[in-house]
């Protein structure tokens, strides 16, 4: 190729990269970055109404949180809770913070339900009236003769039988299990009075800045609660600090972010510093160091631009993260180039490129062929990863091929002493061809790996992705035992042809749930606030018939009280104030505000599942998924149970199963390519990667960490790099200096990748730890064994045919 053409190509490549950069700068800030794992799945895998209900519920519940502020006395608890809520309100990060109950709230409930009050019966009252024809008469007597409040009645005038008051009270019991005390929502935690602070996060931007503000708001609120409790004490008596029990997705998120930040600064800084020191030591200059990493940077840039372009402004975060991890393989290309500084020749960038371009191209070719396997499975997410990886690797390769003759034209070779040392290391490295000891060691390694693989266990649980925090979990468990809250991740989706069918199915479901788990969890559901029309009509009829039925409750009451007109006025009230309340009326009134997310509403076009509501499974329900499923089936054909955590876990398992096939197919393709290229030396080229993969999997068995999607990703990386190492060693057989240079490239490539990813073994997040471990062990083995398979020119390995 002429120098003119080379120059033109290099310039063209620079323009392309500039265009990519400009495109990203313009498009990325406004791009929609998808982070839901479900977006990786093929569309048909998920029922759209389940998906919509799930994401609506998630957005609603993820924004809510509850904090119980407990203190030795209710005064201290109230003061601390008020201070906590106040600090949160002032932080400007909240949509709403509730500590004192708004004055309108409970009063509004009274006004809203008054015209419907004789159509509403609590489960206990309904049962009592059905069982005992005297029930209504006795209920009235309790209202008349017990002190106000203890019968549950709201006063004889409006609620003669106490049915309305008890119905209302049982609704708010469904709400949470908190008691209204002195205008605050109160509970008792470990014998201490506690006041609840309920909040909803306000809209917030993406990124860490918004997260920091939120974290600061909660920290500030906790400090305010503490100091208020301290300042409220008049005496020197040592009073305990208020205890905060937190529940809500946001706390997990902030904790994970804080942990990630801590790990980024600790693990990230350590590995970056070590990496820099290592590179500077090995190559004696900042310029070669930069040349080592440049292909990866350019590769990721170009791949992101391509992904954004083909995705129409939409990219998936996971595809980007996985893809750029794989593009890390391209580091080998730059490393091999600059490893020429160890050769016993004056440095010439162009000549070095000519020397290694075949190795680099073979490395690229095998990797691309391997990752092509990602296109063989019909999963859009894996295809995106494949596209990103291949585009990134090709761009990295192009960067080395087109730019390095200029960028790497003038470098300072390492000193003779260092060079000799590298040569001595290469010569001293145990070789398979030299004796049985090395073979035995490798066989032993394989045996150990096999033993580890036999103990492997698969676990796709999505919770492995979160750092587990004991304290937060304890707080949440305690809140769950004190209050009845929706669990957040599990819900029933209740569907019917129309509103009434859905409500009736809900009622059936709630009754079954109460029977299956009598220990207490009352679920929150639309039918709790708006019973089905059929139920309201039958309840109203039950009340009316009880008044005039066999027990003649109305007549007896009138006689007892010496007011004959009473029976007639009761009859009239029961008829007039029993108009069924409708979902539309409820939705139009502020009383429904906290619960509107439960109504998914009617879908256009009708059908058997046209109308849908959501019933979150209370956290206290101990039933497992199978038990819940049975309840759902019993409630009607349109009722399904959705466990979002389980769904994510299933998705991860689905991706993992397919990735196993991808890896097998990819390995097969690569092996075929190696056999074509290297004939009977192919096994030497493939062995380091194979040993690395075996050891990486084995390490999971030894350590007890689970095999999951992320561990497999590490395997994909080991395959790509291990094959590169094998190729570099096989291609550098012509002389000792070339072999030494290849070894330097392998050492530096492996060391830097181990520093970049292998350090994740110190992470507190189990999935990252597994990734780090597989990578550190697998890459380490591939790295250390690759030079063992070096052969000299003319030398052919034993036991193989003579294909070449």
């Amino acid at each position: 190729m002429g120098s003119g053409i080379r120059k033109a190509l290099a310039l063209a490549w620079a323009l392309i990269i500039l265009a990519c950069g400009a495109y990203l700068a313009w498009r990325l800030p406004s791009a929609s970055i998808e982070s839901s794992i479900f977006a990786l799945l093929p569309e048909r895998e998920r029922d759209p109404s389940v998906r919509e209900a799930g994401s609506a519920l998630r957005t609603e519940l993820e924004r809510r949180f509850l904090v119980l502020v407990a203190a030795p006395s209710s005064g201290e608890a109230t003061r601390a809770a008020e201070a906590y809520a106040d600090a949160l309100r002032k932080s400007g990060t909240m949509r709403e913070v509730l500590c004192a109950v708004p004055e309108s709230g409970a009063g509004r409930m009274l006004d809203f339900y008054e015209p419907h009050r004789f159509a509403l019966l609590s489960a206990e009252d309904r049962l009592a009236l059905e069982r005992d024809s005297n029930g209504l008469y006795e209920a009235a007597q309790r209202t008349l003769y017990l002190p106000p409040g203890v019968s549950g009645s709201l006063g004889f005038g409006k609620d003669p039988f106490g049915t309305w008051g008890r119905w209302l009270a049982s609704r708010s019991a469904a709400g949470a299990g908190l008691a209204l005390e002195h205008g605050h929502l109160a509970a008792v935690v470990d014998g201490e009075p506690a006041i609840a602070v309920l909040g909803t996060l306000g809209p917030r931007g993406r990124g860490s800045e918004a997260q920091d503000r939120l974290a600061a708001a909660f920290d500030g609120a906790a400090a305010a609660a503490e100091s208020s409790a301290a300042s409220g004490r008049d005496d020197a008596e040592t009073s305990a600090r208020p205890t905060l029990l937190r529940s809500g997705f946001v706390f997990h998120e902030l904790l994970a972010a804080r942990q990630a930040h801590r790990e980024m600064t600790s693990i990230g800084t350590v590995s970056a510093v070590l990496l820099l020191v290592l590179m500077l030591l090995a190559f004696r200059g900042i310029r070669p160091t930069l040349l080592g990493f440049l292909p990866v940077v350019i590769g990721c840039l170009a791949a992101t631009a391509l992904l954004l372009l083909t995705g129409g402004g939409k990219v998936h975060l996971i595809a980007m993260v996985f893809g750029s991890t794989i593009v890390g393989v391209a580091e080998d290309y730059g490393m091999l180039f600059i490893a020429g500084l160890y050769e016993d020749k004056p440095w010439d960038g162009r000549r070095r490129l000519l020397d290694v371009q075949r190795s680099i191209f073979l490395g690229l070719l095998t990797s691309v062929m391997g990752y092509l396997a990602l296109f063989f499975v019909p999963i859009p997410g894996l295809r995106q990863i494949g596209l990103f990886s291949i585009a990134g690797l090709v761009a990295s390769w192009a960067t080395v091929m087109l730019w390095y003759p200029w960028l790497g034209a003038r470098l300072k070779p390492v000193s003779a002493g260092v060079r000799h040392a590298a040569g001595a290391i290469e010569r001293g490295w145990p070789k398979v061809r030299e004796g049985y000891a090395t073979r035995l060691i490798l066989l032993g390694l394989l045996g150990l790996s096999a033993w580890g693989c036999a103990r492997m266990r698969v676990d796709d649980d999505v919770r492995l992705l979160y750092a587990h925090d004991e304290r937060l979990q304890r707080e949440q468990d305690k809140i769950g035992s004190v209050l009845r809250l929706p669990g957040g991740s599990r819900f029933f989706l209740v569907r019917g042809r129309h509103e009434q069918e859905a409500l009736e199915r809900e009622e059936k479901l709630l009754a079954a749930l109460a029977a299956a788990d009598p220990a207490g969890a009352t679920a929150v559901a639309v039918s709790v606030f708006v019973p089905s029309r059929a139920r309201q009509e039958s309840d109203a009829a039950l009340l009316r018939s009880s008044l005039d039925g066999a027990a003649r409750a109305g007549k007896r009451l009138a006689d007892d009280l010496g007011a004959p007109e009473l029976a007639d006025s009761l009859r009239l009230a029961l008829r007039r104030e029993s108009r069924p309340v409708t979902v539309a009326e409820w939705l139009a009134d502020p009383v429904s505000t906290p619960f509107r997310y439960l109504v998914r509403g009617a879908r256009e076009g009708g059908g058997a599942d046209a109308y849908a509501t959501v019933v979150p499974v209370p956290a206290a329900v101990r039933l497992d998924l199978a038990g819940l499923r049975a309840l759902a089936q019993g409630a009607g054909p349109g009722v399904v149970v959705v466990d979002q955590i389980q769904e994510v876990t299933d998705t991860l398992a689905f991706l993992r199963r397919h990735l196993v096939w991808v890896l097998c197919i990819g390995s097969g393709i690569v092996l075929g390519a190696l056999i074509l290229l290297f004939r009977n030396r192919a096994w030497g080229a493939a062995a380091p990667a194979a040993l690395g993969v075996a050891a990486g999997l084995g390490s999971l068995g030894w350590s007890g960490l689970p095999v999951n999607l992320f561990a497999l990703l590490a395997l994909a990386l080991i395959l790509g790099m291990g094959i590169d190492y094998g190729i570099f060693v096989q291609e550098s057989r012509r002389d000792g200096a070339a072999r030494a240079a290849a070894l330097v490239a392998i050492n530096m490539g492996a060391a830097s990748n181990m520093l970049a990813f292998g350090m994740l073994v110190f992470s507190t997040t189990p999935a990252l730890r597994a990734f780090g471990l597989v990578l550190a062990v697998g890459l380490g083995v591939a790295w250390l064994t690759a030079p063992c398979f070096a052969v000299l020119p003319g030398e052919e390995p034993e036991g193989m045919g003579h294909g070449a």
């Binding site: 005064g75 003769y145 409040g149 005038g157 209204l180 002195h182």
Partner: protein, 209 residues
């Protein structure tokens, strides 16, 4: 006097009897009469309740007895003209009915509204600090003959209870509830005594033991 307040009020505040000692000390300056109180472990007595209901000419009179056990709660038993019993414990209000196995105990739901009344009972249990926070309190008289007028500050509570008046000397003698709908309830106490007797099986069951 606190013993009587406690007796009177079907007081769930007993749930935090120990914790309230400090609060009482603190509130003593604000409410001198209610401040000098001590709670006996067990207190019992009789009551007469007279309820005037709007629209009914005759007041409804009922009689019965009560039992307060510190840390456990209150049993309130109406005997005439109907029998009806409830217990108020730290865990809620329970309706008590005789049954084949001795006693049937059913929770009376206490939601936001039931709680408005539950709150009043807690207030009456003699936690003066909470009296001041929830009611506008007016005191009159001497330690031997005093009265307290309470008006709910919370508008939601005010929608149900418009005022409460307590009168007494050594003990609380009378309580008057005025409900917002015009109904009035007067309760008078007699034969109040602290006894140290063991709880019977019935009482233990009523407290949920």
């Amino acid at each position: 006097m606190k013993r009587i307040l406690a007796a009177l009020c079907l007081g769930a505040a007993l749930q935090a009897a120990e914790g309230q000692v400090a609060a009482q000390g603190q509130a003593a300056q604000a409410a001198p009469i209610t401040g000098r109180l001590a709670a006996p472990p067990v207190l019992s007595g009789n009551f007469v309740q007279e309820k005037t209901i709007v629209g009914l000419k005759k007041p409804l009179v009922s009689r019965g007895d009560f039992l307060v056990v510190r840390g456990k709660g209150v049993i309130w038993r109406t005997r005439k003209p109907v029998s009806a019993a409830v217990s108020v414990t730290p865990k809620g209000i329970w309706s008590l009915k005789p049954s084949a196995s001795g006693l049937k105990r059913e929770a009376v739901h206490q939601g936001d509204l039931g709680l408005a009344m539950d709150m009043i009972q807690k207030v009456l249990s003699g936690d003066p600090a909470s009296l001041a926070g929830t009611f506008d309190v007016k005191e009159a008289g001497t330690a031997a003959a005093w009265s307290l007028d309470l008006r709910p500050l919370d508008p939601v509570v005010h929608r149900v209870i418009s005022s409460i008046r307590l009168e007494g000397g050594k003990y609380v003698d009378r309580v008057e509830y005025a409900e917002a709908n015009g109904d009035k309830t007067r309760i008078g106490f007699s034969a109040v005594a602290d006894s140290a007797g063991e709880l019977g099986a019935w009482q233990a069951a009523a407290f949920g033991e």
